[in-house]
């Protein structure tokens, strides 16, 4: 038996199908979930995909956070169910206060779409166990509101507790010279909750699971194999 991983479709979601495909390629069973449905169909984990749910009206993720499906996701995430938020999904997780801090418009005010180099800072979460700590990966990034902000105390806490999961690579041999893509504080690209079951990041691992497309590498696939191993061995 394999793991069942739900992918929520909100009105305005864009990457739900790609995420389902990535889950399938990793060997798990993708389960489509609907934003109006409180029922999670007994999935073992949930991915909130990228896109512009509810048109990003008010703030990105602000309206989605109050959708019926999110009531159940929030409740179950608090009791340990693994949840991954990608891009708009990350924004929804901060709006739902499952992750600290908030997301704002890119500091340069432009939409950004490029392959982005990241450093894996924490390879012990439910979603990153198949990476190595310190590993550098290359996956697509595409967003308008990608600037991660939090107060200094929260940032210090995240660093001290190892909850900065990914950072944008802005220096060193692996860097591409573009620097921080959106003005995120301390180059933070992704974080986790205290327990490590909830992870959110701006870049898109689901677009880098086959050599033919994306960055030409399969650097995003370990997200989905990580969670599958965790659930099957649980």
């Amino acid at each position: 038996m394999t793991a069942r991983i739900g992918v929520v479709t909100f009105p305005g979601s864009l990457d739900d199908r790609d995420t389902q495909r990535a889950i399938k390629l990793a060997g798990a069973e993708p389960v489509a979930l609907w934003h109006k449905d409180k029922d999670l169909k007994q999935v073992d984990a949930v991915v909130l995909p990228g896109g512009f749910s509810y048109g990003d009206y008010l703030r990105a993720g602000a309206i989605s956070r109050f959708s019926p499906v999110m009531a159940t996701v929030i409740e179950q995430a608090k009791s340990g169910m693994p949840v991954l938020g990608i891009c708009n999904g990350f924004q929804i997780l901060t709006e739902a206060h499952l992750l600290p801090g908030g997301m704002l418009g890119n500091d340069h005010l432009h939409f950004i779409c490029r392959d982005q180099k990241l450093k894996v800072e924490n390879a012990e979460t439910a979603w990153t166990a198949d990476y190595e700590s310190g590993q550098e990966i290359h996956i697509p990034l595409k967003n308008m509101d990608g600037r991660y902000v939090a107060d200094e105390r929260t940032l210090d806490m995240l660093e001290a507790e190892g909850r900065v999961v990914f950072r944008y690579v802005v220096g060193g041999a692996f860097a591409d010279g573009f620097g921080n893509p959106n003005g995120s504080l301390r180059d933070i690209a992704g974080i986790s909750n205290e327990a490590g079951n909830v992870v959110g990041l701006m870049p898109h691992p689901e677009h880098a699971v086959e050599p033919l497309v994306g960055s030409g590498r399969t650097d995003g696939l370990p997200f989905f194999t990580s969670i599958l191993k965790k659930l099957v061995n649980a």
Partner: protein, 87 residues
């Protein structure tokens, strides 16, 4: 009927690139002497019935949980008189 206005602003310590872009455009338009601009949101809520303490408390709760994200934004709530003559 009364109107309640909720103003939402980014917290002062948070960078506001949109406000900066507006500020930088001002000299080009002949406006001098504006050293900073910050941009926010204004919500006008038309309230049925009296705006008493209970109604205001509910609107405050709405602003705190939904209209503003208090992790990154501050808000104010104020009651505005609606001129009956205009109806």
């Amino acid at each position: 009927m009364a109107r309640v206005v909720v103003d939402v602003m980014l917290k002062p310590e948070i960078l506001d690139p949109q406000g900066q872009a507006v500020q930088r455009a001002l000299p080009r338009l002949g406006f001098e002497g504006i050293s900073d601009v910050r941009q926010g949101k204004r919500f006008e809520l038309e309230v049925d019935g009296p705006v008493d303490d209970t109604a205001l408390a509910r609107i405050h709760e709405l602003a705190e949980s939904f209209l503003a994200n208090t992790v990154i934004e501050d808000f104010t709530v104020k009651v505005e008189e609606v001129a009956e003559a205009g109806k």
